[in-house]
Symmetry: C2
Subunit: 334 residues, 2 copies
């Protein structure tokens, strides 16, 4: 079993790749819900949506979010009614939000609603929200405190950032299964997600950090930073705001409490060497995922390093999984 | 001021015509809400929707319901999620339900939500739900009791009908403005709607029947029955179930407590004569509304008979409105 902590479009791409490399049944995802928002009265969970769409083959690979081939007529009509339209909700995408909102209104937890939706869409991986409690990522800017989606989508992350906090986290509990998945996984992988606003909210839920420290498998992270810039989005800005250097050293620092292995881009070979001298295991790989094959290749690389210890111990289950995935990807490759 | 009691597609067509003939500001609509349903967790009010769409020029004239040119991708996606799809909600149409549901969730009444939506869509007529309380039309069939939309849309009104009731009506109050609109109108028009399930729910709200009896203007109804059949839908079946003949005599009987004038189709000239001999004022006209001009012509005819008394008294306001509308329709006619 592989456990992945994920959020954002980088996370969805990586998970897309991972699901090509090992059977989906062997993946448990712990997903950031700090971006969740009430939109048009509906409960929208952007990172759970992206992961669910990625795993069901519905994700728009062009946009990196939402449903492929979607249209936006309801959005237009909402604009005509004077409602906000900055969060682009497609017509097909709305079905997800409608169903989840109804399930929550009926008293289901976010975990239960997520599990129901995944089952209906044939998603075989286990998708767990980080918590069933509301934890909200709040970005403090000179214009006031913004929700993450206000900061990121509505205002195009143009505001200077003073700090980031996770409102509600101190009272939150990990969703059922989260701690067990981390503790028992053959490897825990931190996806190439924003360390502050995608992984940060997950780490802010009491109990999760301790579980990562106690995990029996290796904890590996894929850096979303190459050189001194994020591959996409505001990761660099937010790391700087939180006092971390925007570099693979900053990523290593964000995860220093529990990290066993960092996978960074081949362009960071020199910086990797510096980290190795500090005692961290670091592997360089092609981390930019332009194509579907890039995604699978990165997932395979991370996996091979993260579970190498297990493989050398000849764990039959893991070997079988590894062979299966190798056979599968061999077929898919051109 | 003209007050119209309305529901269903016949009602929406008639109101569409009426709004071509007199200024919308002079129309108050009292709309059936007995068909309202929770659909995908959203509050849908089919008759308020149809009237609002008719008055904002958004109504699909082909279908008689929903938004013209709408698409149904969310509906398809809901089907893929295993959700019911028998109630055809278009992508643009969803905006109406989303906004209304949000306003209701915020504590607004149905009247307030309706008024807000009408204002946003530039609807100048006053659209009043019959009540802000929930009154549900329930159709008793051998297969059990059904909501009106289950009976009508989901099951294509194929079930034999034992009886119809309006659950919640005894505790309901007319929405603000309803009684005043009926009492003070220059004429009250009952649209060519189903007497049992479109007008019946309105009449079931305590106080409305008394107001109709005390109205200072004439109360005129347009028959939705021609000969022994409804122009469309299950009006005939339901009238029979409620012990009324399926004929203009049945329509007259349904409204006997307050009716001053019945407008029926020219094909019912003989039946009209029989009703006249019983003391009811009856006018024959072309009541089938195939074209936009048919709608306006029927509205003009009904209006001319319903407010003839007022016209002969030389009411300046009504005369002005009448001239204005004559000028307007003259321009529109080919």
């Amino acid at each position: 079993m592989i456990c992945v902590l994920t959020g954002g479009t980088g996370g969805a791409k990586f998970v897309d790749g991972l699901s090509q490399v090992i059977p989906a049944e062997e993946i448990t995802l712990i997903v950031n819900t700090g971006d969740d928002l009430l939109w048009w009265g509906l409960y929208v969970s952007p990172d759970i949506d992206s992961i669910t769409y990625a795993l069901s083959g519905m994700l728009s690979r062009e946009r990196g979010w939402g449903v492929k081939g979607d249209t936006f007529l309801c959005l237009q009509a909402m604009g005509q009614l004077g409602e906000p339209t900055w969060f682009h909700t497609g017509d097909r995408d709305l079905a997800m939000h409608l169903l989840r909102s109804r399930l929550l209104a009926e008293g289901k937890t976010l975990s239960e609603a997520t599990s129901t939706i995944c089952e209906k869409l044939g998603v075989k991986a286990r998708v767990l929200p980080m918590s069933d409690s509301r934890v909200e990522t709040r970005v403090d800017t000179p214009s006031g405190e913004l929700s993450f989606e206000e900061y990121f989508v509505q205002r195009w992350y143009q505001d200077p950032v003073n700090s980031v906090r996770f409102a509600g986290s101190s009272d939150a509990e990990p969703a059922p299964g989260v701690i067990e998945a981390i503790l028992s996984a053959d490897a825990v992988i931190i996806a190439p997600s924003n360390p502050i606003t995608s992984i940060g909210p997950i780490l802010s839920v009491p109990g999760i950090l301790d579980a990562l420290r106690s995990a029996r498998g290796k904890v590996a992270a894929v850096s979303p930073i190459i050189g001194n810039a994020a591959v996409a989005g505001p990761a660099g800005i937010l790391m700087t705001a939180q006092g971390l250097p925007c570099s693979i050293a900053g990523v290593a620092k964000a995860y220093e409490d529990f990290l066993d292995l960092l996978v960074c881009d081949t362009r960071d070979t020199r910086a990797a060497e510096a980290l190795r001298q500090n005692g961290l295991q670091v592997q360089c790989a092609q981390t930019i995922m332009r194509t579907v094959d890039d995604r699978a290749a990165l997932a395979r690389t991370v996996l091979s390093h993260a579970i190498s210890g297990l493989l050398s111990e000849q764990s039959p289950a893991t070997e079988a999984a590894s062979e299966k995935s190798a056979a599968r990807t061999a077929v898919e490759q051109p």
